[in-house]
Subunit: 711 residues, 2 copies
């Protein structure tokens, strides 16, 4: 770590000089020097033009609406919650509109709104809907939301600064911004000093305010923690929350969320203290983090829902718009970012947005390159990681994600060696995501539901091995945080992309190795997904391997006899209590298949085991009195009792269905005769046929140079 | 019926003249005289150009593929089934390519293919996969498919006629077409003479063959039945299968299917015997039938799935492409048809396709006008019908369909007074459709599944009243076919569209009247769906009113306590055996609501009854050992015991959810306090509030001039 020893002190020196640059406003996303060019740009470059028109429309709507600063009362999704969110959005919109037009009405709106807050804020107690799980704010139920509010509002304030009389600015600063920063740094010190995305929002709120209000003390605390020791604060967060590859340990949904304060505050640092070269810090870590956030999406733009995640979220989210604009303009002009920006259909009305919109307009855009990769986890990059295999582009992209990352803190799921499989524009083997109806107040106030713990985080909710109907680490976060899976192998050759990882601690005495591959074979246009889950133990266990699927089972190698009545929950704990057992069948020859019709094609998963096993068909919904759970279906390969169990599956996408023309082709898989030849800790060998051509595959777990042999 | 008495004999006279016009080839969809113009058109008008390129691409692909005429073996969706389908598609494609290019390779392909069939056809027995439900073909499992084959093949033959040597034509005609027509008119006489869509395909196959082969005898049989009496055959089918409005009694899915042979054969009649003025027959019935087929779709193009129906089917289906092209070019140049043709993205390479593509190219297209309407059923228009209410256009169109039509023969469902509700681009209260995986051989050979009878046709599978947990007419087709609902009211005013119908026979001694309305109220941008189901009887009954919904229940006026384990089927028969009872709750005050989040907005259904009742939450899946059923969820308003029961519901679409921005608004309905004031056979009065403004609505069942009062 020579890097940390040499470069970091230099950076801190740069920051230590309390000489903040001569104050200019605005000077965060939009800088005074660039204003004339942006004013021309909003009439010139289509993407900047439409983005500005949207913002101006919002600003004009705000002007027409009476200012409403209600006493905080409601939780997430409730009226006062949404109203305070609208208020910061309006402040930002009016700030931008003012910067471009210099129309005093916008500045007055912001002034009046902030004076209204300034007249009330100090009287507000801690939020009445505070929850035990997260520290409270004063405006919102969580301090987190207050910080987000301040990050937005201070940018709007910066943009109308010159349009607000000095006396009013004094009132606003003394009775609103300074008390807010005090609440964040003192009352919420624990959050402020936390190495966590909530901490990042907090330091960004205080740091940005420090720059705009010319309070170097705030900037120092933001960078180095409330005690300015450097043990916490922004720099420490950059050091510890990301892996050297730029992966954020909570997963992509939170990577997106955390990225915004990182990028925004870094942008401000770069504006005020360019000598610090913040974007070069830790080998250009923030650029890597933006890139990994994008590589953490399927080709439809949706983030891989690793750990707690709302599944509709895509890279069109506002955080990624800011990140991509800044990344392209200030860090690394990767032309693939322009492709993403065009799909985001929006830029920030800012220095960066100007550059992005202009370069798109002159045709510099190139398709964003999705790459197969291993993304290491852990601050030193040695705590497992995420393997991503990809083949093809656009809707035809096949993508396999192996989650072999560390636990990922409190939002982490107990899903070691879980796989996600995407094809034909969407999920094939999906992840449940989080159990949460975000912003739906009637559903637990819009927060995480109890079923997030009892169901969504549990192992069986994922496409990975469950031992003895319990969860990894028995669902204990503290235990799970002590260990991480180990990287075994990643390779990307012409005919095969392979990733492999192992996990030795999730279940005491059980070693699990999972190897997933996309393999091209003759006669098929798309690769096969080949997946080998090997478990070994000195004791006997029950081994369950669920495959969550979408669509309908239309064929199987065995006769399915679903339970007709008296449906029972499959278990009593670790998520099994939420599963209805619909059918239970033996696979006597230790080999079989299931064909699912999904959308307009078919997926056949051929499977085989090292010894005979059964297949359970399950669906979600048992023990759900409040209807909090979403629908879902899985087939579980289930070995009731064995010391060692290897499950091998080969999944083929085949055929097509045209429901309008009422034609069907290729409803039968080309894969047949899958069987395990041998499997132990050294190697697994298995064979199958594709259209009568035999294949034998060997995985040599310990041989890095000859990891997979395909004959 | 003066019309029938006077005009029909005239028409028959025209047909009776055995003087068939001087033979020309081609002369069905594409006529010799128009060929030069079509040849220019395929290089000039974008829609004709792309349509021709698709066909030529198919034809060129066919030339590259060895001819394969397998001995018939497989059922629907199986290999030989699909191969014989491909063969007729290739014959049609090559016929068209030959007509345009005169390239002998295409004619040779058709010739060789047909000689291959001619060498085998007479040896083939009845199809081995024949089913008891439908008479067998020789090429396919149903004679129906053989007729479809011949309808397509004879058109292709007509187009390459001049390119096949006379000796080969003789072989093909004597050993293929004539034996096929013999099989249809003699061996399958029952189908040929049936007043049913299968009959129409049969007469079209024989009639078209008659014109192309210059066999007036075939044409006579096709028009007037196998005995040429006129008691059956094409003219009788036009008389009896459609209502005077053009509604086809089986419903829209089969209307689409039946329309093609009607339109194709009529087009041929018009080509060969224009003096018959077939398109003017029965007041321009065929034009009305095309129009009703289009009015029988939601704004996304999907047919209302009344009776047995595959739900993915839209007006983009090939049958409607032909129908729209012919309707526009030969019957009635409604510029809205051009809009539909543009959305179909295809025209037939034909005289009609030329005209459509040309008129679109010169900008004559106008938006297709969806209209609120009552479509009568029954050959005299007095056997009930379908009520369609519509408000708004495109994705925002709200649409309510009340099914008060007659039984609709064997594909009819037992769903008297069933409603369908569409909004925001899709279904809100859906219909299950048919229980069928079309063309999926592993699922009952691709045909209707047993669950089509045990589930899909049953009353409880629909949004209508179920009495005593049985189905209309106890699910007896013969009984159900004796009776039809009665039209009560239809009106379309600025602020309210209303439809009402009654049914007195579905359950002995129970009178049901249903009134559905789209009502605009102050302060809401979209109308409310108001629905009043009144049942009265001298005896006590259980009254269940299901609302099938999509999405997730996120709020209710009562505490939902779903069953946690030991899930039971709700009943043992009439579809109830397929329902899991998930929850059962009382609605003590006889009034309540349920809010469903569907996609990116909310639907709140406020409901009230004339006496207290309960709500059952159910899902589909019990007693389904082979996993033949699709998922589905409903809330059922359930009155366990009463003589009379009126259920009133007011459904509001409200709010919006932006999952990417993570914002929510308007999650609470503006409707409150719904209650029944009085309800009897004369009138129903009820009241509710919208944003505190009270409304009282009275329905005067017997007062046509003052049917609905809104105060």
């Amino acid at each position: 770590m020579n890097y940390l020893k040499k470069v970091v002190p230099l950076l801190f020196c740069a920051f230590c000089s309390n000489l903040v640059h001569a104050q200019q406003h605005p000077n965060i996303m939009l800088s005074k020097a660039n204003l004339p060019a942006v004013r021309i740009g909003v009439n010139t470059y289509p993407l900047l033009k439409s983005s500005y028109q949207d913002i101006k429309h919002d600003a004009d709507n705000a002007l027409k609406t009476p200012i409403n600063v209600p006493v905080p009362k409601d939780g997430g999704g409730g009226f006062t919650h949404e109203q305070h969110k609208r208020n910061y959005q309006n402040i930002l919109a009016c700030g931008t509109a003012y910067a471009i037009t210099k129309d005093a009405r916008y500045a007055n709106y912001v002034k009046n709104m902030l004076l209204n807050y300034a007249a009330q804020y100090e009287k507000w107690p801690e939020h009445p809907k505070r929850e035990n799980s997260n520290p409270p704010g004063k405006i919102f139920w969580q301090i987190l939301n207050d910080c987000v509010w301040q990050v937005n509002v201070i940018q709007g304030y910066d943009m109308v600064y010159d349009g607000i009389p000095a006396a009013d600015r004094k009132t606003i600063e003394e009775h609103l911004f300074i008390p807010i920063c005090k609440y964040i740094t003192e009352d919420s010190k624990e959050t402020f000093d936390r190495i966590h995305n909530h901490g990042t929002w907090a330091v960004a709120a205080v740091g940005l305010t420090g720059y705009v209000l010319n309070k170097p003390d705030y900037v120092q605390m933001a960078l180095k923690g409330s005690d300015k020791s450097g043990n916490t604060g922004f720099m420490k967060q950059i050091d510890e929350l990301f892996s050297p590859d730029g992966y954020y340990t909570e997963g992509f949904y939170y990577q997106r969320y955390a990225l915004l304060p990182f990028i925004l505050f870094a942008k401000a640092i770069n504006q005020y203290q360019p000598q610090a070269q913040i974007f070069k810090y830790r080998g250009g870590l923030l650029a890597k983090a933006v890139n990994i956030a994008l590589q953490g999406t399927y080709s439809n733009g949706a983030f891989f829902p690793i750990n707690d995640a709302m599944k509709d979220k895509t890279f069109e989210s506002s955080e990624l718009i800011s990140a991509v604009d800044i990344a392209y303009a200030d860090i690394s002009p990767d032309k693939g970012f322009l492709d993403v920006a065009a799909r985001q259909k929006k830029v920030i009305v800012s220095d960066g947005g100007l550059k992005v919109a202009k370069d798109i307009a002159v045709g510099l855009s190139q398709p964003f390159k999705y790459k197969p990769m291993w993304m290491s986890d852990g601050k030193n990059g040695d705590e497992g990681g995420i393997g991503v295999l990809r083949c093809g582009s656009g809707k035809k992209q096949q993508c396999l994600v192996l989650k072999a990352a560390a636990q990922g803190m409190g939002h982490g799921h107990f899903d070691r060696l879980h796989i996600l499989y995407y094809d034909n524009g969407g999920e094939v083997f999906p992840d449940y995501g989080a159990s949460r109806f975000i912003n739906i107040e009637t559903k637990g106030g819009g927060g995480y539901l109890p079923e997030n713990t009892t169901w969504a985080k549990q192992t069986v909710a994922h496409n990975t091995l469950v031992v003895d109907q319990t969860s990894d680490f028995k669902g204990n976060l503290k235990e799970a945080s002590k260990y991480h899976p180990e990287f075994v192998h990643f390779s990307n050759n012409t005919n095969a992309q392979v990733v492999s990882a192992k996990e030795d601690h999730a279940y005491p005495g059980v070693q699990m190795v999972r190897t997933s591959a996309l393999i091209k074979v003759d006669g098929l246009t798309k690769p096969l997904l080949v997946d080998v889950m090997m478990a070994s133990s000195a004791k006997e266990h029950q081994y369950d391997l669920p495959f969550w699927y979408l669509g309908n089972i239309i064929d199987a190698s065995f006769k399915i006899e679903a339970n007709k009545n008296n449906l029972q929950a499959l278990g009593t704990n670790f998520g099994y209590q939420h599963l209805w057992l619909n059918a239970q069948n033996d696979v006597p020859s230790a080999s079989g298949y299931i064909t699912v019709m999904q959308g307009q094609s078919f997926y056949t998963t051929s499977f085989a085991g090292s010894s005979p096993f059964g297949v359970k068909l399950v669906s979600i919904g048992a023990n759900d009195p409040n209807l909090n759970l979403l629908d879902g279906k899985a087939f579980i390969l289930s070995q009731p009792k064995a010391e060692n169990q290897t499950f091998i599956s080969v999944t083929e996408n085949h055929g097509s269905v045209d429901p309008i023309a009422e034609t069907t082709s290729g409803a039968k898989s080309a894969v047949s005769g899958l069987s395990v030849i041998s499997s132990d800790r050294k190697k697994t060998t298995f064979s199958f046929k594709v259209k009568d051509k035999p294949y034998t595959i060997t995985i040599n777990y310990a041989d890095k140079t000859n990891f997979i042999q395909i004959n």
